[in-house]
Symmetry: C2
Subunit: 231 residues, 2 copies
């Protein structure tokens, strides 16, 4: 009979309602302020009941983070469909920033309140992320092949640089860390364009001999062994 199927369906419905309540509460009040008891109250269950669906509050976080990463994945992939390889690179990173402003609750959850540990049993649920990153690296490689970036540029290095540069403006944006009246979008766009311009100028491939490395900066010599950003 379909009894097993019905039970599975019911179980999934409760799971979904827990996740829905958590999503609403996290969005409205932030991860730290939401307790298991509040989630339980919203779905009219006892707090203990939740633990037969999710093993911990962490587990609920991971489920919502996975949702967020899928949204990000969709948005970033959708931004890499131009003919111009360079605009694909620019577009996918601009999409990353836009995601942070369009889905501030997800972004805050994913990158500010907490972060997904790199080693976790649930990491399989995030395996698609590696494909997304690989896609971003490929986009850079295509731009290099098209002559938009120096031949000597490592696409991996460029990817890490774009990531590290843009997470800042995104966080500054969602947390409103600037004085009122500041234009966060323009700041992010400036940073993105400046980083891309910097990559084009070849600085990331020639900095080994740049002044600050040879002489150290302000009496703080660069430690031996620190030479190039690993590729």
């Amino acid at each position: 009979m379909g009894t097993k199927e019905r039970q599975d369906r019911e179980r999934q419905a409760v799971t979904a309602s827990i996740l829905g309540a958590a999503r609403e509460l996290f969005t409205a009040e932030g991860y730290q302020s939401v307790s298991i008891r509040k989630i339980a109250e919203r779905i009219e269950y006892s707090p203990a009941a939740i633990y037969s669906y999710y093993t911990s509050k962490d587990d609920i976080f991971l489920a919502l983070a996975a949702e967020g990463f899928h949204l990000l994945d969709d948005k970033v992939r959708g931004a890499m469909t131009t003919d111009d390889p360079l605009e694909n690179v620019r577009g996918c990173w601009w999409a990353f920033y836009e995601f942070s402003q369009e889905q501030p609750a997800y972004f805050q959850l994913m990158f500010v309140d907490r972060s997904v540990p790199r080693i976790t049993q649930q990491w399989e649920g995030f395996s698609f992320l590696q494909e997304m990153l690989a896609e971003a690296v490929n986009a850079i490689q295509r731009a290099i092949d098209a002559g938009a970036f120096p031949r000597a540029l490592s696409p991996d290095t460029a990817m890490h640089m774009l990531w590290a540069s843009l997470i800042g403006p995104a966080i500054v944006g969602v947390r409103h860390r600037l004085a009122s009246g500041e234009d966060y979008d323009a700041l992010a766009r400036d940073v993105l364009n400046a980083t891309i311009a910097g990559l084009q100028s070849g600085i990331a491939t020639t900095f080994v001999s740049c002044k600050c490395l040879e002489e150290g900066i302000a009496g703080a010599p660069v430690p031996a062994g620190v030479r190039r950003h690993a590729s």
Copy 2:
């Protein structure tokens, strides 16, 4: 008599021991994991006693954050003493990154675990920060005057861009968010140099007419009114 003075001294000694215990525990276990009770236990006082020295756990955080910002202030100022205006700019932001790696506990406390709210009664205790930022803007202005940056570059815009670009690599560094074997220092240096190269290329003053703004990116047109990073 000097009784009042002695009492003041004793009070200050207890205050310092609270702060010392908090500093050690925050460094060893992180802000969230340290409780008032743990601090109290370490200095062999009752938890309630702490509340006659600091009004809240937040207050202790602010005191330690102020310490951290003074350390940062010293380091950044010390890095702006070159003759070359451009190297002063590069140096002071590299000092910011270096601070994050040399004082990861302070950095984590100041920029990751929590952040100093922009509006706070204790904000006066952080007023020296405005001077530090003004100094950083001045350094950029001097570099512009010396011809190292385009005349049309707003030093304020450049300051915000450098800040937003470098906070990323610093956070990535203290949190070890890259695969093992990655060279965080080199990543930060690449980002810094790329951003400076981008500023030099004039991208932050001309992007108003750049392709991504005129056409939107991947079907996501830039909202009207978003034009330039406010100066």
